[in-house]
Amino acid sequence: MRAIWHSRSFAVAAVVVVLVVVWYIGGLLLNLQPQLDTYHRNGTMVPALPQLAADLWSQAKPILPAPHQVLAEVWNTTVRQDLSSKRSLLLQAGVTLASTALGFFIGTLLGLLLAIFIVHNEAANRSLMPWIIASQTIPILAIAPMLVVGFSAAGLSGVLPKALISTYLCFFPVVVGMVKGFRSPDQMQLDLMRTYNASRWTVFWKLRWPASAPFLFTSMKVGVAIALIGALVAELTYTQNGGLGVRLLTSSYNGQTVTIWAVLIIAAAVAAALVVAVGLVERITLRAMGAQPA
């Protein structure tokens, strides 16, 4: 029998406990000075440690909110909030998710098409790749507002301008991964297809495409997570329809640190759920393709 401390859930739980402890301690240290200022202003004595800790962990606008404050905020803005209310982070997460999903879909498609083009055309191979890499060296925070404004000016509206920022980010891992994936068949397999006088199209569908499946899912896992980042960043500029990014922006204007953290937690949970979902599709697909169980 396996000892409990060798199990994966135990390892995860241990890390979580350590993080929470560090977080609480961080709350004590970071929030101390403003709390002392408050006591001073009110002319009250600095209380003993239990009361001081309780005060430090329950400020309205702390520098670092305590975990229970963040969890309470998450609870209040999701479960206890009506879905139709603008204050519902579930509603806002839904807005962000919609643009993430659309951007991810377009980005994956674009990445696939570019990879197919690059693998089959030597000129494209030499000329496109540097530009694709250059596109990712530009800070997204700098270019996203300009692109979003540009897209809007070009008549795009609704979810599309935001989705295209997600596309801008997530096509990249798909191109890089799939160029490698389409080139993963070895020389012997390619020679085999040549002995059958197979066309390039046949070689693609019967060999390159199935051979690249593991690469596709790895790329998509990276892609879906950064697609969400793209949507959040786009929402900092394109605020009309709301979304988690807009909540992030308004909370930071108002110094609502607890809400900022709640939004971050929810964004992280959405990203994790997306990656897990891609992983699930991966497992089902690769099993159907006869992959050897690990």
């Binding site: 012997m188 002995t195 019967k206 006869g290």
Partner: protein, 260 residues
């Protein structure tokens, strides 16, 4: 009838280290129904010659015809089946789907496809393993599946490049006798590359001895062994005599000398 005919065939690879003469002045014929082995140390051009027949390499001088056609025409007419050093099965396809691969590409109708799969799977003794994936089979079985794949579209010429080189000797002995039976049943013409003298002598009706630097033919030996060959024929004086001649051919080509 001559299936493969090479006349003063040469092939030089241009590499960064200078030219490498892989084949020099190779002239030989392979007749219909023959089992011809190519033997020699690595670098003697035996695999290169096989790949040239298959139009996977282009000769730089001389002429080569397959059934009277150029190698390129012969490849486009799917005149041969090729068995590589490794099985090269597609891991995402079951064994029967792997065998079906050339049939799919060549557009055989479904009923015909099923019949051909069943027949070739039976030929290589893999009936019952149709739905297995390659990783579920041993190395020997995988290589048998790749032979089935090469046989499925019924090309008259079978090109085999050290197909059993990666297998242990016991499996190899077994597959050698299986291959002889298969050859007798199908009446194919087989060109077989090997670096094992017993394997070449046991299988062949004709043995081409080759030597390196430059790759060339040093001897062509016609086997005197009967067509019926039990495994213990390898202890007969006749067998040992042919093996001795092969070794002599290799020695004449300086194949046993150490090179830097």
């Amino acid at each position: 009838m001559t299936v493969v005919s090479a006349k003063t065939l040469g092939l030089t690879f241009h590499t960064n280290d200078g030219d490498v003469v892989a084949l020099s002045d190779v002239s030989l014929d392979i007749e219909k129904g023959e089992f011809v082995s190519f033997i020699g140390p690595s670098g003697c051009g035996k695999t290169t010659f096989l790949r040239t027949i298959a139009d996977l390499e282009q000769p730089t001088s001389g002429t080569l015809t397959i059934n009277g056609m150029t190698p390129s025409e012969a490849r486009q007419k799917r005149a041969y089946g090729y068995v590589f050093q490794a099985p090269a099965l597609f891991p995402w396809r079951t064994i029967e789907k792997n065998v079906a691969l050339p049939l799919e590409i060549m557009g055989y109708p479904d009923a015909d496809k099923r019949a051909r799969i069943a027949r070739t799977m039976e030929l290589v003794n893999l009936t019952g393993f149709e739905r297995k994936y390659p990783w579920q089979l041993s190395g020997g079985m995988q290589q048998r599946a790749s032979i089935a794949r090469a046989l499925s579209f019924d090309a008259d010429l079978l090109l085999m490049d050290e197909p059993f080189g990666a297998l242990d000797e016991i499996v190899r002995d077994h597959l050698n006798s299986e291959l002889l039976k298969l050859w007798a049943r199908t009446q194919k013409t087989i060109a077989f590359v090997t670096h094992s003298i017993p394997e070449a002598v046991y299988l062949s009706t004709k043995i081409i001895v080759m030597s390196p630097r430059p790759g060339r033919v040093t001897d062509i030996i016609t086997s005197t062994l009967p067509s019926e060959r039990p495994l213990d024929i390898r202890e007969s004086p006749e067998f040992l005599e042919i093996a001795r001649r092969v070794r002599e051919g290799l020695r004449a080509g300086h194949s046993y000398e150490e090179t830097a």
